[in-house]
């Protein structure tokens, strides 16, 4: 009986903390969505209007804002392609770094990490000059390259951790059964680390999706990304809260879809469970 009460209080405390955390995280989203559905006059009303007639005016305004749709697709293609590239290059690199010891291999690891230590503002002018002389300013490819480069250290370090945890014996077993080294990597190791690939993929995508400074400097009219464009809702006359929040909600959608798809991979990977020692 006593134990039961203890359990219940523990449960209640947990519940309270979870609720607080939930409100803490959900409320800004709730507020953004409710703002995006309000009429102009209600948005900044004090005390806030909790009950109102939802209107989609802000959404049509946001969608009609010049270039919003284009910037949205720019962001999507830049995010997906840079994530894909970072994974394609980063995963094999991480695997080699975790399996082979060669001259300077540990140095390489810290050098790779060091590129993340630099604040982006330091390398922004060199990047600008580089892409300017390559005549690649205001192209999606330029942003994709930069986002891939910033995503790589993350992918390599993250995946290296996963590969280190998998014992060599698994590849050895595969090779005894006639698999090549590369085949073992592709057919055995990668499926074992799907949760890692998925989570680092999500992180890389989110980074690219939210990145502002590089996209601002490297793009102009044609390949503006959504975070740069959304900034333009802050105009001289007013901050257009309605369309701004509506655009915010709209650019959340691909992220949510991407994470939901990724989540399946996360769960599948977790239940795979081949590694036992």
């Amino acid at each position: 009986m006593k134990l039961n009460v203890g359990h219940k209080t523990k449960f209640a405390i947990r519940l309270v903390f979870l609720l607080i955390f939930l409100v803490w995280t959900i409320f800004p989203f709730f507020w953004m969505i409710s703002m995006s559905l309000k009429e102009k006059t209600d948005i900044l009303a004090m005390p806030p209007k909790w009950i109102f007639n939802p209107s989609t005016k802000s959404y049509s305004e946001a969608l009609n804002k010049e270039d919003f749709v284009r910037s949205f697709f720019n962001s999507t293609s830049i995010g997906l392609l840079s994530t894909l590239l970072a994974l394609l290059i980063g995963i094999p690199a991480a695997y080699i770094l975790s399996r082979f010891k060669f001259k300077g291999s540990s140095n390489i690891e810290s050098w790779i990490l060091s590129t993340r230590m630099m604040p982006p503002i330091v390398i922004i002018i060199p990047y600008f000059l580089l892409f300017s002389s390559l005549r690649m300013l205001d192209t999606k490819l330029a942003v994709i390259i930069v986002h891939t480069l910033s995503g790589l250290p993350l992918v390599i370090w993250f995946m290296r951790g996963f590969f280190v945890e998998i014992p060599n014996t698994i590849e050895e077993a595969a090779m005894i059964d006639g698999c090549s080294y590369f085949g073992a990597f592709l057919k055995i190791i990668i499926p074992l680390t799907v949760p890692g690939v998925v989570s680092v993929g999500i992180l890389t995508f989110l980074f690219s999706w939210n990145e502002f400074l590089m996209s601002l400097v490297l793009t102009s009219s044609k390949s503006k990304t959504a975070p740069v464009l959304i900034n333009n809702f802050v105009s001289f006359q007013e901050i257009a809260w309605g369309p701004l929040t509506a655009a915010g909600v709209l650019i959340l959608i691909p992220v949510i879809i991407f994470v939901l798809i990724g989540q399946k991979g996360l769960i599948r990977g977790m239940t795979f469970g081949a590694v036992k020692e």
Binding site: I124, I125, F128, L129, L216, V217, N232, V234, Q237
Partner: protein, 466 residues
């Protein structure tokens, strides 16, 4: 596009008449059709008698089409001038055949974008907007192409049409360095006081004429719902811009004759005391986060009794978004102890990238964008005057505006003493930042005005030595 639709409009009735002549009227089954086609014909003639572009924006004895086919790119800041110019840029494109790409960003992003592109020394863009704050540092970095040689080329500008003398003389002075004209002004703003006529009347107050009166009035207006006095408290130039008007009006100066920091003089301390006291005791809560946008937004929502802001920022108070539309009075900033009023000022200008490869076409655009007809159009639409004297005497602009507002603006510009604000000092952005941090320290109660200004003067002296 427009031309082709015109030809369609012409060809249809002409075709009908042609058929009529050939078939001797048999083609028409009824006289109604004839009348219709004649009407269409007349209508078409009326329509095509208007030119594709309106000639009002062009004039002078130059060949506007000489750079046809070129493409120029300008980085612009979100601003009433940009908003006003954007819709008529197509007129320029149609007339000259130059394609203009407008890259527009809000302030913070704008500064980053322009600085990086200029630091890159690339021909990626041709022209850009530049505010007073950056004049010194951009000049020192040679980021502004001198415009005098272009003005001497009579193929590029017709002096009589452009009327250079009509541009604000103070703005031209501010944009000239060692005899070289570096920018063309587009907007000229000075500090102006705005107050709620209804609230002042309700409380039986008169319009404050001195800083003590301003403080008393603000104290009486202050309630839980309404701030007595609202102004900027934000770090950086924001707070320092407003504070400078107080400093100068109190008789304080940034530097003494030898160029040493002098703003911590007794006058400077008195000005800082009143500036911070107003915000601390009668201002809104969280005033250290208030830039001009927040100041204007709070006034628009009816939460400010009196405010001092840049004249160019004030027109939204009379906009449809504003609950205080029509209730605002305008006046000069209060006078200091010596009856002096020296408002701070701000010029927005257009400049040319020295690395541009299409300088002549860019110059053509810059002069067009600062010409009389363009400024008149923008002023009539936006309610704010560009940096030309003649705009103020335009009857159409005058009719739409509140007379008190116009008079206040003209007068406040005449009070400006441009050389007292060290915009042309390349280190001014850092100087302003240092002062702003210490001013915030006073507002949050961490330091007295004297301590804060002494500390800042020391930092500024070090900065200047570097």
């Amino acid at each position: 596009m427009i031309k082709s639709s015109c030809s369609v409009r012409i060809s249809f009735p002409v075709f009908m008449i042609f058929l009529n002549i050939i078939f001797g009227g048999k083609f028409m089954r009824s006289s109604n059709k004839l009348i219709t086609s004649v009407l269409i014909m007349i209508l078409t003639l009326v329509l095509i008698s208007f030119p594709v572009f309106s000639e009002e924006f062009f004039g002078g004895n130059i060949d506007w089409t000489q750079f046809s086919g070129q493409e120029i790119r300008l980085i612009m800041c979100e601003h009433w001038y940009t908003n006003g110019l954007k819709p008529i840029v197509s007129e320029f494109e149609n007339k000259t055949g130059i394609k203009v790409i407008f890259d527009i960003y809000p302030e913070e992003a704008f500064y980053t974008k322009v600085r990086v592109e200029l630091a890159g020394a690339q021909p990626t863009m041709d022209g850009f907007m530049i505010g007073s704050l950056d004049m010194g540092s951009y000049t020192a970095a040679n980021w502004l192409e001198p415009l005098n040689p272009f003005f001497e080329n009579k193929n590029l500008v017709d002096d009589e049409w452009y009327d250079f003398q009509d541009l604000y003389p103070s703005a031209i002075d501010g944009g000239t360095h060692q005899g070289k004209l570096l920018v063309l002004p587009v907007g000229a703003e000075a500090e102006v006081m705005a107050y709620r006529k209804d609230i002042l009347e309700e409380k039986g107050l008169s319009v404050p004429n001195t800083y003590e009166e301003l403080y008393d009035a603000a104290k009486k207006i202050k309630t839980d719902d309404m701030a007595g006095y609202v102004s900027r408290g934000l770090r950086g130039l924001s707070i320092v811009w407003e504070w400078s008007g107080f400093l100068l009006s109190y008789g304080g100066r940034y530097f003494d004759e030898n160029g040493n920091p002098f703003f911590n003089s007794p006058e400077g301390i008195a000005a800082t005391d009143i500036y911070t006291k107003l915000l601390m005791e009668t201002g809104p809560s969280g005033v250290v986060n208030y830039g001009w946008q927040e100041v204007i937004a709070s006034a628009q929502q009816g939460k400010a009794g009196i405010l001092i802001e840049a004249s160019g920022a004030l027109p939204p108070l009379e906009g449809d978004e504003s609950v205080v539309k029509g209730k605002i009075g305008y006046a000069q900033i209060p006078a200091g102890p010596n009856q002096e009023r020296i408002p701070n000022y701000w010029f927005w200008n257009l400049a040319m990238n020295p690395y541009s490869e299409k300088k002549d076409a860019t110059f053509l655009f810059l002069t067009w964008a600062t010409s009389k007809p363009v400024f008149l159009k923008i002023a009539r639409d936006s309610g704010v005057s560009g940096a030309r004297l003649s705009v103020w005497s335009d009857s159409e602009f005058f009719e739409k505006q509140n007379k008190e507002w116009i008079d206040t603006c003209i007068e406040s510009m005449s009070f400006v003493k441009a050389d007292l604000i060290p915009y042309l000092n390349a280190k001014y952005p850092e100087i302003a930042d240092s002062i702003s941090v210490e001013l915030q320290n006073v507002i949050i109660g961490a330091k007295s005005s004297k301590e804060a200004l002494d500390e800042s003067a020391k930092q500024v002296a070090d900065l200047l030595k570097k």
